[in-house]
Symmetry: C2
Subunit: 192 residues, 2 copies
């Protein structure tokens, strides 16, 4: 879908319907036959992102990686690659939309939220799969939400500063935190 690429490159508001038609080599009548409004097109794009989380994002990132904690950092490494490949101008398309649309219509906001949920669900599963290595008191869901915060915040800073180091610094601190949690879990297992 051409609209998917343009929304990612230029944002939703800044991409005109004429831009999409020109890039896709289509005509106004055809597009409006399938999508009643530009917002309908956006909703379809968000559905595709949601459906693509597992096959397009997680599966390639996790190929050959079984360790659940390693999987978390393998996914973050994917975002790093995209940042570096675009000289720090690529951003998470969902995060862009989340902050670009200030008062989105309810279905749009819900569709963005669903994308976040899918991402957090996948990471939460990693932490649950690694449960034996984490302290019993650590909330796995909260840790997954935290991980998404770091990814989005790291991408935001790296893009703004045109500097991959800000993303790396954020991920490095998460790595330290997880290492400390694993050490704490080990101690607790030893003392009980």
């Amino acid at each position: 879908m051409t609209a998917m690429r343009l929304f990612q490159e230029k944002g939703y508001e800044s991409t005109s319907v004429a831009d999409i038609l020109k890039a896709a080599g289509a005509n106004s009548g055809s597009l409006y036959h399938f999508f009643h409004t530009k917002q309908d097109l956006l909703l379809e794009v968000l559905r595709r992102y949601r459906d693509g989380i597992a096959p397009m994002l997680l599966e390639p990132a996790w190929r050959g990686i079984a360790d659940p904690i390693a999987r978390v950092f393998a996914l973050l490494a994917r975002y790093r690659e995209a940042l570096v490949a675009s000289e720090c101008s690529y951003g998470c398309p969902i995060g862009n939309l989340a902050l670009e649309l200030h008062e989105p219509d309810p279905p749009v906001r819900q569709a963005i939220a669903t994308n976040f949920d899918g991402w957090v669900d996948a990471i939460e599963r990693c932490y649950i799969d690694a449960s034996a290595r984490l302290p019993a008191t650590t909330d796995r869901r909260a840790l997954a939400v935290f991980t998404l915060s770091i990814m989005e915040g790291g991408v935001m800073q790296a893009r703004t500063q045109r500097r991959i180091e800000d993303f790396d610094r954020s991920v490095a601190m998460l790595r330290d935190f997880v290492a400390l949690l694993e050490r704490q879990a080990k101690e607790q297992r030893g003392t009980t």
Copy 2:
């Protein structure tokens, strides 16, 4: 400045010059006498945010709080208050602009980056002031960048989900991390 409020509420692209003129009770000619373009107005708004970090943000947040680590969380609590007061629709105005403008003109991108620098500088100073309680190997600058990532990512999720819990979860995990770092530093002091 009226433009400041509207850019925050509706975003930059979605706020028309006519909106600003109407809200401010001014006329087109007057505004363009002081600002040659809408982007000039944005740059002035970003300058005001930058100059306001200390007097408008840090000083009120830190009044009566001397402990440097407590200051970090007092600042984060300010963003929480703003989120709650707006039913999770307020966001960090700088973060909004950072992701709304996909390929900003260089001076705009630089002005946003300068705002982030000012925020990170202030938090880095907190961690430096708390140096005795942190492990010697922990990079204070990286920890400050990490803290901004968590704030921005937490705000993004809370806004999208219309749920303060996602912000709280992110901050709670940072709290756990800092507590673990303080414990680690204590151990290191004890063993040397």
